[in-house]
């Protein structure tokens, strides 16, 4: 298994990343030992509750850190082909924000941010904003960059791109702005594309179009993609691998099939069970009971324990290690320890699994 994995080109390797923020009420320990790998041409999806640390993790890869934030420890190794055509690996946590921006952003690593308005310049027409990177990094002429920008606008599903080219961000709808940000990210053919909730405001048809466009780009250029999304339908459509985050840690990871058809962590169960289903008629949605832990306080044991109906005594004392449950599948839960009592996933989820199995027979 590992031998096969080593043959693939690793572009990104995150090890033991710890990040904290200073606030008026104390230190927020937002990222607590994240480990993650990304290989060339692959797509991983990071899923997890709001506030679990998804955006902070990927922003660190982009060299973006709030001024009250600090990388306590860990490394982010990025491997790329440099100007001389050689393979080079750098630890991004050792570089200054400026250096990362200057050397890598846009050109090597591009990101679609969660809040489109914050990454658009309200005083500049959108066409110019798409052209900027192409002129700077790809050394395209103005005319060529304009043509490409209009083509990109069309590809992200914006009608009348020639007219829209001259409009300002506030003249566009929310979903159009989101698509402009996507066009900017795609403009320079990056090695790594990070999409933080890229399609949250998009209707399903346009969403499908964007996801298809990114896939196509992946086939053409081998770009590796990290998706952050809470939309499990999107995950199902695009991801090869899934990382499930909870309270600043990755608690379960595996191939898409392992996570969707054989989830093992009780948090993942809750997450899958709370998906609204167009066939359900129940009057209340399933929500994981309780609230996420207060990251201002030191967490003993498994952070999910207080909300976990299956928690064991040890969960309150010792943080679980990553158990290897076969294949690519890793789970940080004491329930996967061979000594643990055997528990079953909730009935509601079991039903859903059964339904999926039936649907799959038809394919």
């Amino acid at each position: 298994m590992t031998a096969k994995k080593d043959k693939k080109d690793r572009v990104l390797s995150v090890r033991d990343l710890n990040i904290s923020f200073e606030t008026a009420s104390g230190t927020v320990r937002a990222i607590r030992g994240v480990r993650m790998d990304l290989f060339r041409g692959e797509t991983i999806a990071i899923v997890g509750e709001s506030g679990s640390g998804k955006s902070v993790t990927v922003k660190t890869i982009m060299g973006i850190m709030a001024n009250n934030g600090k990388i306590e420890s860990g490394r982010i190794d990025y491997t790329f082909t440099n100007e001389k055509g050689e393979r080079e690996t750098v630890d991004l946590t050792k570089l200054s924000q400026k250096e990362i921006r200057y050397r890598f952003n846009g050109k090597h690593i591009a990101m679609v941010f969660q809040d489109p308005m914050t990454s658009l310049d309200p005083t500049m027409i959108i066409g110019k904003q798409i052209m900027e990177g192409m002129i700077l990094h790809e050394k395209l002429s103005k005319a060529a960059a304009k043509e490409r920008a209009i083509d990109l606008l069309r590809k992200v599903g914006i009608e009348n791109p020639e007219k829209r080219f001259h409009e300002y961000p506030h003249q566009l709808s929310g979903g159009m702005r989101q698509r402009v940000v996507i066009a900017i990210a795609l403009a320079c053919n990056p090695d790594i594309l990070i999409c933080d909730e890229p399609t949250t405001a998009l209707d399903v048809t346009i969403q499908a179009k964007i996801l298809e466009l990114i896939k196509e780009l992946q086939r053409e250029t081998g770009v590796s993609v990290i998706y952050i999304t809470h939309d499990l339908g999107v995950v199902a459509k695009v991801a090869d691998y899934v990382d499930v985050m909870y309270a600043g840690r990755i608690v379960e990871k595996g191939s898409i099939d392992e996570i969707f058809y054989d989830p093992r962590h009780p948090y993942t169960w809750g997450l899958l069970a709370s998906m609204p289903d167009t066939d359900t008629n129940s009057k209340r949605l399933f929500a994981i009971p309780g609230t996420p832990p207060n990251l201002l306080e030191k967490i003993d044991g498994d952070a999910f324990a207080p909300r976990n109906p299956f928690a064991l005594a040890i969960d309150y004392k010792t943080e679980p290690p990553m158990f290897n449950v076969g294949g690519q599948h890793r789970v940080a839960s004491w329930l996967c320890d061979p000594r643990a009592p055997k528990v079953e996933m909730p009935d509601q989820l079991k039903e859903r699994m059964e339904k999926m199995r039936k649907e799959n027979e038809g394919i």
Binding site: P116, T200, L202, V204, A236, T278, I363
Partner: protein
């Protein structure tokens, strides 16, 4: 007659138009003559593709714009033209909007508790400081945030937490009508469930009415009593949630429904959704008129289209 017709609508919208002039020879007709009613205590879902005019409709209703044409009656008061001062005050306290782009409307220099308290302060809706703090803390907890969060600034939150600040700010005033524009789309499913359940609880308790703007049909289906489908500035179909999901008539509605993603990787990776092209279908929205299928179900069509579209439905 039916119950719905016996009741007075909380919001009555008639032939609302909102146009934007881009330059001398180009005007965007963002909303181009839509009519609908929303009854007290119900949730009206507004869906449609990106750019179809949903946010513009919401912003026109709460009077961030001056409508190009049409009539808006809110709780018996005409709020479409120049408003009387008392009608404006009534609108500002009884109608609230949760905006699509949370960061764009949260002042980065204000602490969260100040942001949430602002509305209460302006409209003098609290007894004393203790009461104000209590109200802020209660609503924070209801949207799944904690007291410790009250002293932070908006940029120190995750995307979903920020969206909840916007929700808290709107709900703390106990408005009669809440326009929720993609209010839960940046939230993970579990928090979505929590917020939706909260909105439903408020509805049961206080009779709050919602205009719920979203592109996520599975959530819309879950939360709405009735649904309006928008496309290119027109309301192409409206009906009860059941009618829209079980008996869609307009080809655009059908294509929307066919594209709902399923959380099943093997199905998703092999599916093809219906596509809808207005030009190819030869549909001209301005030529269509409202055709009534039931008392609640209505579709925008010409007579000829109407005959054609209802053939393969149960009507």
């Amino acid at each position: 007659m039916t119950q719905t017709e016996a009741r007075e609508p909380l919001l009555h919208v008639e032939n609302l138009k909102q146009h934007f002039r881009i330059n001398r020879n180009y005007t965007t007709k963002a909303v181009d003559g839509i009519s609908f009613d929303i009854y007290p205590g119900e949730t009206y879902g507004l869906v449609g593709e990106s750019g179809s005019g949903k946010s513009t409709t919401g912003r026109a209703l709460i009077r961030l714009y001056t409508p190009t044409a049409g009539k808006i009656i809110f709780d018996g008061r005409d709020i479409s033209g120049n408003m009387k001062p008392e009608d404006e005050e009534y609108l500002r306290t009884n109608m609230q909007m949760i905006f699509q782009d949370p960061m764009a409307c949260l002042n980065p220099r204000k602490k969260v508790k100040e942001i949430i308290a602002q509305g209460l302060e302006i409209h003098h809706m609290y007894k004393d400081q203790a009461d104000l703090d209590e109200k802020v803390n209660t609503i924070l907890e209801k949207v799944g945030l904690s007291r410790e969060h009250a002293t932070r600034y908006p940029q120190q939150f995750s995307g979903g937490q920020r969206q909840r600040i916007g929700i808290a700010r709107a709900l703390v005033l106990n408005p009669k009508l809440v326009i929720a524009d993609e209010a839960i789309s940046a939230l993970d499913v579990s928090i979505q469930a929590q917020v939706v359940n909260l909105m439903k609880d408020l509805q049961d308790e206080l009779g709050t009415t919602y205009l719920f703007i979203a592109h996520d049909l599975s959530m819309v289906k879950y939360i709405s009593d009735r649904i309006g489908v928008m496309h290119l500035g027109h309301l192409v179909e409206t009906g009860t949630t059941d009618e829209i999901f079980k008996n869609p008539v307009h080809p655009y509605t059908k294509s929307l429904l066919s594209a709902i993603p399923k959380p099943n990787p093997r199905v998703e990776k092999s599916r093809i959704a219906l596509t809808y092209d207005k030009k190819k279908e030869g549909v001209d929205y301005t030529a269509g008129t409202a055709h009534q299928l039931t008392e609640t179900h209505q579709v925008l069509a010409t007579d000829e289209e109407f005959e054609r579209w209802i053939k393969d439905t149960s009507y």
